[in-house]
């Protein structure tokens, strides 16, 4: 096994690696977008004046934050078919599991972001005749999100790396695919090195892009 490295193993397995990358990216994007949307709703519920939504959102968030992701994935894979009466497949179950799991973490980030906006800003919006929701939508949330960008990004990177956990329900994300090729073709060093470089490049590009966005919207 030791001896010359052979990186052509990448090219001969390009399709399986590429398909893995698609799953990784799909899962990351869906869980970020869905997680932030749902997380925003949860955060608004938690901060609501009404007791019931605040309580419900609070328990939801606590439950997911107390459970390891791998358990959540298992749980949705086995439990959802029992509830719905028919199997929904590995991919859908992990999309749901990841989105719900991420929303619990995003909720807490977003809640802190909303709370960082001072009350007089809300008053200024209300005094102009905006409704509570309009003031939230046009005054509070844009400022809150701008303050939260670094934390949201960190969470997104953690999520991107966590997608490899889908192997437990038989899905092949990028890392699982690379691992598979590595052991099958006996090219462990090449494949793990490639995987590390790919992860590094994607995460760096993501950070760069967000930092540019941030500069664009900074004042």
């Amino acid at each position: 096994m030791v001896g010359r490295f052979d990186f052509t193993v990448i090219f001969s397995n390009l399709d399986i690696l590429w398909n893995g990358m698609l799953i990784t990216l799909l899962l990351t994007v869906v869980a970020i977008v869905g997680g932030i949307l749902l997380g925003t709703i949860l955060a608004l519920m938690r901060l609501s004046r009404f007791k019931l939504p605040a309580y419900a959102a609070g328990r939801f968030v606590d439950a997911f934050r107390a459970t390891p992701l791998i358990l959540v994935i298992f749980w949705f894979y086995f439990a959802v078919p029992i509830v719905t009466g028919r199997p929904i497949g590995g991919l859908y179950s992990v999309l749901i599991a990841f989105t719900l799991f991420e929303s619990a973490y995003y909720c807490e980030i977003i809640r802190a972001g909303i709370q960082s906006i001072r009350l007089p800003q809300v008053h200024a919006g209300l005094a102009l005749g905006l409704t509570r929701w309009q003031a939230t939508r046009h005054v509070v949330l844009p400022q809150a999100f701008r303050n939260m960008v670094p934390l949201l990004l960190t969470q997104a990177i953690v999520l991107f790396q966590d997608t490899s956990l889908v192997y437990v329900v038989g899905l092949k994300d990028f890392l699982t695919a690379a691992d598979l090729v590595a052991t099958r073709d006996n090219r462990v060093v090449e494949m793990y090195l490639t995987a590390a470089v790919v992860y590094l490049v994607i995460c760096s590009l993501g950070s760069l892009w967000v930092r540019r966005l941030q500069r664009q919207y900074a004042i």
Binding site: P120, A124, L126, A127, L128, G129, L130, T131, Q134
Partner: protein, 242 residues
Amino acid sequence: MIEIQDVSKWFGDFRVLSNCSTHVAKGEVVVICGPSGSGKSTLIKCINGLESFQEGVITVNGISVGAEGTNLPKLRASIGMVFQNFELFPHMTIAENVCLAQLKVLNRSRAEAEERAAQLLNRVGLSNQAAKHPAQLSGGQQQRVAIARALAMDPIAMLFDEPTSALDPEMINEVLDVMVALAQEGMTMMVVTHEMGFARKVADRVVFMDEGRIEEDARTEEFFGAPRGERAQMFLSKILSH
């Protein structure tokens, strides 16, 4: 136009307002002064429902602020408010600040809103700043934008809560000048301020508050001639000696 009758308010056990009564007639300018913590901000925020109160009645143009079915957003849209720390929206340009509520509350078209914004920014002397963000403006400029933002709603009255007390001394006058012009045009105004020069110049009445009570409510010349209460006299001599 603004009627405040026997209003009391508590924060928990702490009584911030005790049986406050006063009024502002159409076209009248009323200045409120008093020591820090006397409840001036709280009283003025009760007028447009930003603070609730437990006892008494406040009406604006006949509409009861504290009543159950009152459409508060609609009521607030008709009363302009200017804050001590400007409270411009930092993520929006100056023009967007002045347009936002015109678009969302009055449902004006964008063209209409932008034209009104340009007109008002011109009026407060800031026509060439429309594309900037608040952080790029001085405090005095920001406060003038805040006044333009409130005027864009074509309010029937304006509330000011210490509009110049966060400003460097050299910027106070540019804001006061705008307010004086507004008063002289007949705007109904309630102004919390310690600028006694402004009060003498344009106020019809001066209200003095202390520990949540309205201690004096007198015509301007009477108030400055001889405030009745001892506390008001002390307060007046203290701020006039500055």
